[in-house]
Symmetry: C2
Subunit: 189 residues, 2 copies
DNA sequence: AAATCAAAGTGACAATTGTCCTTTAACAGG
DNA sequence: CCTGTTAAAGGACAATTGTCACTTTGATTT
């Protein structure tokens, strides 16, 4: 369990055993069953979660059309939360639910900041991680702006071959901003 | 000049005069005329730039279609570079050119990291800035996934009323992932 | 094995957006 | 004042994608 988190942090900032133990002591484990919600709209979001096991989806429920737009998946070695609500202490505008049974490690904003202040390595880890996240999001945005439905799907399969098998197409369509039917036709013609 | 940068950093991390002077001494001023390029595809990207004055666009030139896709504008108080190339020391995959005469402050990756190590406040500033950038990019992505051309344009005007007047519509269309003609029809019907 | 349910495929049609092309307007430089 | 350049508007048509309704498939439960 904790090994995954350790390797994840050490990919940026190598740690001593003591340092890691100290960091790890601030995380709280949480297990959730398939179909349950980690975060629901209007919740206050106390934690940011590291995914140890399972698969989740973060989505916006459009109250007008009743449709859901998935903007992120979370699997092993990824982080997931409503960042905006988490950082600003406001209510969630999104939902996060489990597509599989999940095992997570949560940390509060206060502890996150405390660790950053106490350990430069952790602050550095947060900084690098945020920058990596930014660049990968930017790549996704570029494809969303310029690519056709087909481009987007092919790129997704190339980038996440495992995920594209693990997740129902309906959800992938939503993630790509395309209707389920259109996606279906892309690989049957 | 330097006051803008100071206020920008201090919005996250208040500094003493000495600290700011030290930070500022690592930046190099650069002035560019309208229509010139700050970064061209295949350049090595030594600097990350803070915009003191002017307006720039970052875009991808699609070599197949010959079309350009703008994925970011840069104006006063924003940062601009090819982040991927800057962080990894690789060649630029994008272009950045000036829509107006520009005045910039550039910092190298080595100096950026050095400042982060020497001053926790600066590392913290980088971390917070990256997280803010991430959340704002995510909001943009959400609109790109779910919004119609009209939604996107209206949202853009709401969020950047000044920019929408300052920048030619052709560029705004490209930023929104919409053809110039489609955008033109949105506010004439 | 039968019943139930969720996911995926498909056909027909509508709506949105892109592409190509022509025209108009604004404006800078000689 | 003219001329060349750039931005913008708009018409006509094509391509892409969405929507709705229905069928098929496959998994799960009883």
């Amino acid at each position: 369990m904790s090994q995954l988190l350790r390797r994840h942090i050490e990919a940026v900032s190598p740690l001593t055993d003591e340092e890691f133990e100290y960091i790890f002591s601030h995380f709280k484990s949480r297990k959730l069953k398939k179909h349950t919600y980690l975060i629901q709209q209007d919740d206050y979001v106390k934690y940011e979660y590291f995914v140890v096991n399972g698969c989740l989806r973060a989505f916006i429920g459009d109250s007008n059309t009743g449709k859901e737009i998935i903007y992120q998946f979370g699997i092993e070695d990824w982080w997931i939360t409503d960042r905006d609500a988490f950082f600003h202490g406001t209510q969630a505008t999104i939902n996060v639910s489990c597509l599989e049974d999940c095992e997570l490690l949560g940390i509060t904003l206060a502890d996150r900041q405390k660790l950053g202040k106490e350990l430069w390595k952790y602050e550095h880890f947060l900084q690098v991680k945020a920058n990596l996240g930014y660049t990968s999001l930017l790549k996704r945005l570029q494809i969303m702006i310029s690519g056709s439905a087909k481009d987007r799907y092919e790129q997704f399969v190339r980038q996440y071959p495992q995920l594209s098998k693990r997740i129902p197409k309906t959800y992938i369509a939503s993630y790509l901003g395309v209707s389920r039917e259109t996606l279906s036709r892309l690989y049957n013609s």
